[in-house]
Every structure is written in C-alpha cells, then in structure tokens.
Symmetry: C2
Subunit: 198 residues, 2 copies
C-alpha cells in the first residue's frame, strides 16, 4: 500500500516481542501523532545507539567516561557485583537494596556462540581488583551452563587475590513461586542453602 509503511512495520517487527500486527498498530499510532513526537522517538533511538558510552571502570552504559554509579561517593566501592548485562544492573538497582558498585561483563562465555573470555570485560575486572580497594566480588550471573562456566572462570582468575572474598547470589525458590513448579536443581540448591529461622 505504501513502501514507507511496509518499511516501518518491517523495522518495528524486528524488535523482540513485536509481531506484524503490533508493528502495524504502532505505525498507525505514529501516523496519528504529531511529527515532532515521531522525530523525537526516531532521534532518541539513533542517539542512544550511536552516542552511548561505556564506563571505563565497570563497563556499564554511561553518558561520560565514568558511570553515575562509579562516580557516586555514597556507593561502597569495596563490593563489586559482577553481572552479565546492563539490564541486570537495572534489575538490581530497582531493588534499592544494593549499595556496592557493579562490573558488567557484556555477556557470558559461550563456545556455541563463539564468545571467548577475551570477548568479555574479565581482564578489566582483574585489573580493577589488582589496583586494590576491592574486598568482595559478588557473582550475579544467570544460572545457565554459560553463566556457571563464566563464574567458574572468574573464580579461577581471582585465585591470585586470596584476600578478596568471592560470593555468589543465593539460588532458591523465587518469591511467590510454588515448590512443585520448581525444577530439581533449584530445589536441591534451596535445600542445601537452607537457613535457620530466627
């Protein structure tokens, strides 16, 4: 009907969770909204992808050389939470319960996908530890084979710093989850890591 419409529907439907129907609905919304709104949307996408920087210390996204979390004097820089992606930082920040800093690996080791340790920001982490001041590394990676492999690799690399404590976030039954829906590995972990009440 219109190549411009086909084009925008095609591009929008490449986004995750957006099928052809939703893409068309979004395109119709864009058509009916003021031009400046469509331009603001387009510009925000393009600028985000092209202009975003990565923190030189923790690899989190940032508008400048150091990210706001690394710059924040109130954060405890002796505790570093190692995560896979920027979105994990956002998830943990949203809890409001963590006051340390982060280290974003940018992925996990995956021979299947051709991701080697050198493709991740592991050396930057080791370098930061070497510079001193870090007392604890919390590994908060996904509970996938790749996540576990990466955690093990980092643990090995950190063996040259015996003074640094390494911990892993607790595995267990999620809040609101039902026991009979949990898989065996999760139940096993939950049992092994049981805590005394009171």
């Amino acid at each position: 009907m219109s190549k411009l419409l086909d084009n925008v529907v095609g591009e929008l439907s490449r986004l995750p969770g957006i099928g052809n129907r939703t893409a068309l609905r979004l395109a119709m919304h864009i058509l009916q909204s003021p031009k400046y709104e469509a331009d603001a949307l387009a510009e925000s996408i393009s600028r985000f992808r092209n202009d975003v920087k990565y923190c030189s210390r923790c690899n989190n996204i940032s508008d400048s050389d150091l990210c706001p979390i690394c710059c924040d004097e109130r954060r405890d820089r002796s505790v570093v939470c190692v995560v896979e992606q920027v979105k994990d930082v956002i998830s943990i920040e949203n809890t409001g319960q963590y006051n340390g800093v982060y280290h974003v690996l940018g992925g996990v080791i995956s021979p299947m996908q051709g991701i080697a340790p050198s493709d991740l920001k592991i050396n930057l982490l080791i370098e930061n530890v070497r510079q001193g001041g870090i007392e604890e590394i919390i590994l908060a990676l996904d509970t996938t084979i790749e996540g576990e492999t990466t955690a093990y690799f980092i643990k090995k690399k950190l063996e040259e710093f015996p003074q640094v404590k390494i911990s892993v976030i607790a595995r267990g039954i999620g809040f609101g989850d039902q026991l009979d829906y949990a898989d065996q590995m999760t139940i096993t972990h939950a049992l092994q890591n049981r805590r005394p009440m009171k």
Copy 2:
C-alpha cells in the same frame, strides 16, 4: 544511569501497549543490535511520519498522489467502502474478499473530541460520488455512537444521489465468539438480520 537511555525508554513507552519494562527491554535490544539496524529503525519511523502522502481520491496513505488500490485497474471502482482509518483498509484487505475501492474518512464525527464533519474527508467522498461511476457505498464504520452518527450524516449527505446504493456491513456475533458474551445490541442486530439457512 544514562540520559540517553532514559530518553529512549521515555519515548518508546509513549507508544500504545508499551510500558516502562517493555521499553527498557526494547532499548536493551537496540543497544545490542548493530548500529545500522538502530539507524534503519529510526529512519523508517521518521520518514514514514514525515514523507507519507495521502491519496487524493480516497485519502488512504500512499507514496504517490494516487494510492495503489485506486490505481489498480482490476479493482471495481463502482463500489466504495467507507472506513474510519487506514488500519481498517488493511484489515479488510487482509481478508482478500473485497475487490472494490476505499474511502478513508480519517476519523469519525465526535463533538466530545471536537471533531466536526468538516475535519473529515466527507466532502471529498461526496465530490467523488458527484463525478459519477460509483454505484454502491458500503459504510464500514465502528459500532460506536460516533461511528453511527457519522454513518447517518453521510447517508443524509448522499440523499441527493438516489441512484447510489448505500449499505452497512453486517452486525452480528463474531466468528468464534460466544453468544453469552455478546452484548444486547449485538444480539438484537444478529436476530434482526438472521438469514435463512440454505
């Protein structure tokens, strides 16, 4: 964390059906996809909104003066289906069952939203009818008060062309819908418009 991220999440979450969480997920996808993909998405949005044209005959979106449907020699130009929005054209086209042409009003009469008949392409429709060649007008507007009002207004306007047949798409129980979930108006219409079997 990053103003660029906040910005893109803010803009994306203005789209219908996209909340903050989904917007963040989309932003993370954009971050991980190649720059040319993000640029293609941004450009497709901006170009669609700024460069799209409207067919001078039927007001459908188009890349040129006349839309592909109005240009198509195989379409029956004696039958015009009047719809509210471009998306309605797409819905009807997707059935593959309609061979006439369309007329897109661009909305419905709505005193509440300050939309008067003059804000819609009703005069263009009357003008097209006046030029001759149109034998039937099918009104395919929404079954809202505004839709019914608009249908009535157009019917009145077309009274000066008694040779033109005016019809309304059938109202009834949708395919796959359950009778006990249908509202009274729908059931009343469905009963009144019952057809003999065979």
